[in-house]
Symmetry: C2
Subunit: 138 residues, 2 copies
DNA sequence: TTGTAGTTACGAATACATTCGTATATTTGT
DNA sequence: ACAAATATACGAATGTATTCGTAACTACAA
């Protein structure tokens, strides 16, 4: 049941993951009610998708109760990492920098966000000077 | 032949696009020779894929010469925009800021890149003060 | 206990992606 | 002009994603 690696989720599967990340562990019914707001497919379709995601190792489930409760195997953060990495290597020629510039250009960040990015950049600089080799801080 | 909209490229199609963006307009032979370095599939597979991409409107081609020469319909930059937008809305809860932070955390940017990001942020701030409504500058 | 509502399991239809074999067409060297 | 080499076009097999109908199961109320 433990898989060698978890395959990349499809677009439909990502919609379900998004709901589970937002809501926390949920039943098929819960997910489907949320999904209905943007899609027209039926309940058994949602069920089947989640069963397949279970097979793939994308979800785990708790079978003990009245109805099954599903949870994503990977955190949103972890999945973001994987997708960003893949995107950088395929579309951005391996340059995270280009992705950052592109994302900044998409929608203007708020003044507060700008400041948070700046202070993060400062930390990176400081870090680099302090410990040219290591990666960790604090 | 003009399509209402160009569909999102698949992973295989992205590999071909990457080559075309790097090389510029190319024949199937050119693309396939490049593709062979990382894949094992045959020449006619590459051909078929590029024909399908033509059908979808992802590529255009020049048929006048000895062999057909294909060109991406959308620039790398334009495609990057679309993919970044989609990613932000599906995985990053609609927040470009989160994507920026994630990308910065992936691989340490060089000091020069840090400076370029900073000066771009400064421009954004300046822009905002000068013209709180408009988007364009210069 | 039996029916009803709500659930999960399963099989199958459809659509799209990927792959290749083979047929057809075109260029070029002799 | 002909053969060999190289191109494109086409059809079909295979695999995966998406969808749903229907069967089987479960809890609960009457």
């Amino acid at each position: 049941m433990a898989r060698p690696f978890i395959p990349k989720p499809t677009d439909s599967e990502l919609e379900i993951l998004r709901i589970l990340w937002d809501r926390g562990p949920s039943s098929v019914r819960d997910v489907h009610m949320e999904l209905e707001k943007s899609k027209t497919s039926g309940y058994t379709t949602t069920l089947k998708l989640m069963q397949i995601m279970l097979e793939k190792g994308i979800l785990t489930r708790d079978v003990s109760g009245r109805n099954h409760v599903y949870t994503p195997t990977l955190s949103r953060d972890r999945t973001q990492q994987q997708m960003v990495d893949k995107m950088i290597s395929t579309v951005f020629n391996g340059s995270p920098f280009m992705l950052v510039m592109q994302a900044l250009g998409r929608q203007r960040p708020s003044p507060e966000e700008i400041n948070r990015i700046k202070s993060y950049l400062n930390e990176l600089e400081k870090d680099r000077k302090d410990r040219p080799q290591e990666g960790k801080k604090k």
